[in-house]
Subunit: 130 residues, 2 copies
């Protein structure tokens, strides 16, 4: 457990009470996803070492992996220069993306348009038990 | 020059007409900064190969490096699963952060609070000619 107070002091939550959060696999450097955190999500993440976001669509805390099992263990918590974005270095269990891709950034723009550059690792129906 | 049309079709601009943009140094994997792009910034970036953001504080296009000289050359343009965030793999000239640090994420939370884990590479007064 890390004391969240110094981070909370440095963070500049926006008018919705949120900061942007980028998750990066700590050892490979792969950028996995971008989501949002409110104050409670930051506190819970630092208290438990398990990454928790705030889901804007559901309007509540989103404990990453609580449904899919694909959780993120926090390795390092970094704050940017103006405090409105955090970089979470994590150990991603399984896949980060709800599509079953390892990372959400699996489409790359090339001469032929947007191309999928990474495979589906886990079928989404497996992730969500349909 | 890359045709921006497939990217623009896939992007889900928010109510302010923006998508989040994460810049990552293409070879080291270092996450440099997070900023925003509007449609025009995406078009200009893909047309010129030089990264252009939208500055929310100034309310206009922000050609990264136009004042500081610390520009970003686009290497790869990736779109996330729901189209509201892009990942820009770039070649960063000099430093990405206005503080003179290489990246904006130079503060890490540890037992003793937030600690600067990276040096100022270029003094800010040099960057902005003060």
């Amino acid at each position: 457990m890390i004391d969240p107070a110094p981070a909370l002091e440095a963070l500049a939550f926006n008018s919705d009470g949120l900061v942007a959060a980028i998750a990066q696999q700590h050892d490979t450097g792969e950028v996995l996803m971008m989501a949002w955190m409110d104050r409670a999500a930051v506190e819970e993440t630092l208290r438990t070492g398990r990454v928790c976001y705030y889901s804007r669509s559901r309007g509540k805390l989103w404990r990453k992996g609580e449904t899919s099992g694909q959780s993120q263990r926090l390795i390092e918590f970094l704050v940017d220069c103006d405090g409105d974005t955090v970089l979470l270095k994590v150990e991603q269990l399984g896949v980060a993306c709800h599509t079953g891709h390892r990372a959400c950034f699996f489409r790359s723009l090339g001469a032929a348009g947007l191309e999928e550059i990474a495979p589906v690792v886990v079928p989404p129906e497996t992730l969500y038990g349909q």
